[in-house]
Amino acid sequence: MAEISLKQVVKNYGRTPVVHGIDLEIADNEFVVLVGPSGCGKSTTLRMIAGLEDISDGEIRIRGRLVNDLPPRKRNISMVFQNYALYPHMSVRDNLGFGLKIAGQSKKVVAERVDEAAGILGLSELLDRLPAELSGGQRQRVAMGRAIVRHPDAFLFDEPLSNLDAKLRGQMRAEIKKLHQKVASTIVYVTHDQIEAMTLADRIVVMRDGHIDQVGTPMEVFNHPANTFVAAFIGSPPMNQLPATLDDGRLRLGDGTAIALPTRLRERVRAGQKLILGVRPDDISPEGHGLLEEGEHDTIDLEVDIAEPLGMESLIYSRLAGQEVLAKLYGPRLLSPGERLTCRVALTRAHLFDADTGRNLEAD
């Protein structure tokens, strides 16, 4: 139940900087997901919030209080670790109650709160087991239970689902979301999985190389990626990115293919500017098989290299200007390799990036 604020936070390991002065304001009860490839500094940032790493420079405040020099135990936060970090020599009950016991709570309070948390997470039957006797999903739940019994100001999650198999991961994702609704609280959640980010977050923070590339709601990040990195990282399969130049009011790709310049971007392009055209596979579809049949569009011819039927839709692998391009066909229909398709490119949802800086021309 607290806001967290990071100001110009820097982390250096020796002389190597891993986090380069990031700013982030997390509101009360907000679910914020830090997402990025490994080594982007997201876990380090989380660990600095937790107090497990020293802050090299800058300020971190929790509930307005400067916590830079406070050890983890004085920050009133709780954390769920990637490998759960359950205490192997304690029963589930003792794992859950450990923090309260350390805080000097009476036996009665500990028992009540443990039972409450166990009830919320469906652990009541398992209280006397040791962690080694639990399944992966159960361990995950115990780790979450340990976090909630203490009624902390904020929950920190460090890639909590990455050790689970795909099916369980989906379930636990839903449980975490439910938990956030039941136990209103501020959550900072680190993952490298953009699906987790999209499904869980109130706001996504995309990080790369120790910098924040973009902060926004899942829809903002998805619909208006700030740069080519975010565009490629969020969304699966990733957005097609084709180098292009402006030629006579049209976008010309490397092999001479011309695509119309989206009207809304006309003012933003400079003559001679090197560009990257970004279009998601969902927005390139054979005519009559698209999601978006309205609005401004252009057409291109694609030859099917491989088609992957996924049921209601098919993924088409093709080539354009010497580069692999993905397109999507909606509605069940068989495709054969070599088949030529005329595809609509939904220009309303196409993006242009500066090829040198990678920045979205619409991002300011």
């Binding site: 020293d54 802050i55 830079n68 020099d69």
Partner: protein, 303 residues
Amino acid sequence: MFRAIRTRQTTLAPLVLLLPAFTVMLFVVAMPLAFSFYTSLTPYRLTRPESIEIYIGARNYIRLWDNAAFWAAFWRTILFLAIALNVELLLGLGIALLINKLTWGQRTLRTIMMFPMMFSPILVGFQFKFIFNDNIGIVNNALQSLGLIDRAIPWLVDAQLAMFSIIVAEVWMSTSIFAILLLAGLLAMPRDPIEAARVDGCNSWQVFRHIPLPFLMPFIFIAMTIRSLDVARAYDIVHVMTGGGPAGRTELLWTLIARVGYNNARMGEANAMAYVSTLLSIAFTVFFFRKLMAARRYMGGAE
């Protein structure tokens, strides 16, 4: 300001934790070694205390150069270690492979194997002195009772047999550490690659050569490193079994040091020899420790 202190604390913590360890080592090992280095530059004799103040430079070391007894002991020590360690390694590997094949009783055998490791070296020496005794030793008794020999074999009196007996004692005491560590390695080894190699048509030797052996290398190096920490305990065995005899034919560096230092009271000279033996041990340990580090990196476990 506060931050500066906190960061300093986290770098200070390991130093504080390591301080007692290094203090003890400096007081009990480094300082005496420095002192003994100084005495190795004097003609110090226990019987003439004032001789510790006479500085003679490297003369003790130069004299070692021409000292035939020293060189004989030096090379005998190297040979002794080379034979003992190789036999221990091969036997240990054999035993590990053997036990690895067994379907039951592995744990019991492993426990039994630990016991020689825990014997006092002085006791091992005594034990084998007893066993190899020419009159009452079990070896001669057995051979004679079986009618294989008609006269007692002078195990500890004949120079070559004495060396052999000492090596047997050393091997008996130290093979376990190899066997146990290599067995642990074998038990930890994934099975799939071996099966894959078999399917690929390797014969047993080829399989062993390419799959378990490289996997076992780090374990071999740990065993060697642990062993190298304490090679000089062979002193105890030799001391009891032959005392370096007959006629200095089983004299190793370590027994020679004891003889020169304590029996002849020539501390300066003994300390010079001690330095050589120390450097030998250090070289040995560093060599295997490096190999161990390289093997770790190769296994991807490092840092």
